[in-house]
Amino acid sequence: MPNQPKGAIVGLGVTPMGKIYGRRAVDFAAEAIALALDDAGLSKNDVDGLLINANLPGDMDVRTQMVLGFENLTLVNVMSAYGSTAGSMMQYACMAIREGLANVVVLVYADAPLSPTRGAGQSYAGPHRFPLTGMVGLRAAYGNFGANPEYAMAARRHMHLYGTTTEQFGTIAVNQRNWAQLSPWAQMKKPMTLEDHHASRFIAEPLRLLDCCLVSNGAVAVVVTSPQRARDLKQPPVNVLGYAQCAPGDNLRTDRHPAVETGAKRSGEIAFRMAGITRKDIGTCQLYDCYTYTVLVTLEDYGFCPKGEGGPFVADGKLGPGGALPTNTGGGQLSGYYMWGFTPLSEAVVQARGQGGERQVPRNDFVLVSANGGILNYHSTIILSRHASG
């Protein structure tokens, strides 16, 4: 039997995503929050908590609460564990609600790094992000810019240890593109084959263009409240059954391997125990997928298959539409939209409510949400359920 919920998601707001120019992150945030409150049947005055996910450019800071015109909030903070922050925010929101510190908490992520003159490649890894002074200057000197080479090296290590192949990575990309075609929110809907994947240019070997996530301008907001309050709101409540973090540390020591043994393992164990369910109860996974590799290694670390067998595990297409383990059903960050941990979280809410339309999965009792940040240096897990209580 699952345990009692720790909180409930009652509102979701997702703005248009992608190359939408001329708007600031905070304006996207305002739109997403308005959509989420409307979705919940709540008004701005009902909000007494605001958790802001610090974005990479740094313009979503604590002053956001004033720009948005909130007042008398009893919980406000900017949180940052990069891509994994959505899970940390959910933990913090549920704990604050249980402690009585706030009743209706809004979680928001917004970013607008794309402009007509700055595309995806430069948005998060351009020269403006790489200072030259001191040891940190070594990164630029060696040509080591941004996440692409770091995740490429992680994927290469996995291939070396376990025989993982580019076909297996490609299958993940194709499966998610197939999902994206069923989602009204997805940016990339053009059909993709394994041949398209192999023909796409290398970014950082072994990763090709179609192994890498999108970059999006946009925002996602989620409204969290107590399971009791959730009962008489507009939407079917999505209960938060478990959450956990694990930060496995850096990879600067030869006895550490966070890139192939991620924080998904420990944070997953804690979250499943808290939820009172097991991996077998999970009907759909919404996993952080900054790269195809991330999906593969995350599935291993949650124990869906033994370590090293992620490649063969995904190769039969079980993650795609009609598959045995539908995963990243909105297209994920690869083909849907890139909103850090709010990409998997937002799709999980849709699936848990049963509002996925064409992409709705058949088993939505329990949904796993996974997010990682840095170069797999931070990890968070959330387990959601459509069931009202244990």
Partner: protein
Amino acid sequence: MSDKPVPIPDEISAPFFDGARQGRLMLQHCSACDGWSFPVRERCPHCFAARLAWRQASGRGSLYTFTVMHQVMNPGFASAVPYNIAQIDLEEGVRMTSNVVGIGNDALRIGMKLEAVFEGVGENVSLPKFRPAGR
């Protein structure tokens, strides 16, 4: 044509860059726990003692993993692509990111033995890079 970015040594990193200029790979070593660390800090990441001193490392290690970069993220690398970025597991227990030189990208093999070499990259700045050992 732009040049590759050149690091600017500061006070805390000066021993590393001074060593590199003299052909020595310098790392911080903790006298409290005998642990080595990289890149640079005031307290030991193993035991948190503030007893770090710069020491010459062996410069020997093995290739942990690597990538070959095709995307140009900085105009200084426009003519360098495809170039490799490598993580090298040093004998001292430190994993360092650098480039492997003196060998084609196709010949890179995880686990291969490497040794440090030093490449002048600007006025008074040298970078530790790595080449196959025993050449």
